[in-house]
Subunit: 138 residues, 4 copies
Amino acid sequence: MKKILKLFENDRFAALSNIEVVDISPGKAITRMEVSDMHLNSIGTVHGGALFTLSDFTFALAANSHGTVTVAINANISYLKAATKGVLTAKARELSVGGRIASYTVDVYDESNDLICVFQGMAYRKRDKISDMVDYSD
Amino acid sequence: MKKILKLFENDRFAALSNIEVVDISPGKAITRMEVSDMHLNSIGTVHGGALFTLSDFTFALAANSHGTVTVAINANISYLKAATKGVLTAKARELSVGGRIASYTVDVYDESNDLICVFQGMAYRKRDKISDMVDYSD
Amino acid sequence: MKKILKLFENDRFAALSNIEVVDISPGKAITRMEVSDMHLNSIGTVHGGALFTLSDFTFALAANSHGTVTVAINANISYLKAATKGVLTAKARELSVGGRIASYTVDVYDESNDLICVFQGMAYRKRDKISDMVDYSD
Amino acid sequence: MKKILKLFENDRFAALSNIEVVDISPGKAITRMEVSDMHLNSIGTVHGGALFTLSDFTFALAANSHGTVTVAINANISYLKAATKGVLTAKARELSVGGRIASYTVDVYDESNDLICVFQGMAYRKRDKISDMVDYSD
């Protein structure tokens, strides 16, 4: 898990969005993002792109949690409720994994535990192992 | 069109991603994003979240191009080819508009004119007019 | 609920697919489909179209369960495991409802309780009431 | 191409839906479906499941057109306009193919050339060749 987290430390787009990892275990991941001005769109609600980035990053953590390098091939997001402030929590869970394709659902909640968006992601599992990609020297 | 562009100037998440508007006309929009380090994920390719943000912003421009405030309700993105550098161009076109729901496709190309991702977005049209939302005083 | 079921009795495509309603309550629906030769594609597994029809019908039941006429505007289905025989059970649940848009997830299981596919559907709620559409005379 | 068509002749769900193949070439396919009572839902418009089956079948033809066995892993459909009668035409085109994953768009038009729905499908390419699957003896 440490190696996986190390890999994701390099993820500048997630860092830029101010996303923090709360928990990661095989097939699962939880993250959080405190809404700030930079996440808001022109009508004052959290940007679809910011919600997607939060969901997508959490999906990637869960998809890579088995130590195999994966890449996203498709994602679908449905926006259910507008968010404007507070901390958003994203929870990814694995629906299936087997062979080259794995599938995940991510639910994003606000502080009232209302569902803000649902994300469905499919990943392609490459032959590479994450342990081979991380440089131990630093 | 000026009012619509003015509205989107407030879009901090798009600005953060370094997205520029190339063209906007009724039902259409074109944008560009020069790939830099901040867009890259941990395996050195453009982040799914960055490609989504580019597509989603272009979709929003096209969806709001008629002067009616719209909000995204669903988006689907398929990643076709990994991008690593250069300028990406996103082109949004309207598939249907009528009543409360409108639908758009966004194609993102790299400099070799290869398709990087396709995005399908649905928008809900509110009763508000964009012209009522922009403050002329500033 | 009787009126809603009456409305769906006219659904010839679902009838053709041999789908039975197990349960319907506000925001929820459960159906079943016994796999037979007509559901199989050319490689002997249950046709994507048959799985979609099962999911979509169950989504429609849940979406119409409040007595307001709804129409599907978008659907996304991810195929997780090939099904070849036995009874498939579809369970729809409401993720959000409010204003004109409602959102649902449908999970389809085989007899081993393995997830065969997940379906995400969005519906547009019209102004019509189902009670006004059903003819009591027959 | 003959072998591919032969394979799809066994597709009972498509046959049941009264779908005809108009044309098939590498990466492309065109089909048609004449709307009849069986395709209509309880409010008298063409069933989402029928439109999906038409799109999905056309996608499968295009995806298998290269002679490699493929299976659908994800599909997204957006409904743009209600159809009630006449002949619907579905056109599938390949967006990308390479390695194990291929991606397709299907547009469905009515007789007025209005877009009824758009379908985005992803396929996984297996190692099997279609030529090995078809029995020449019959």
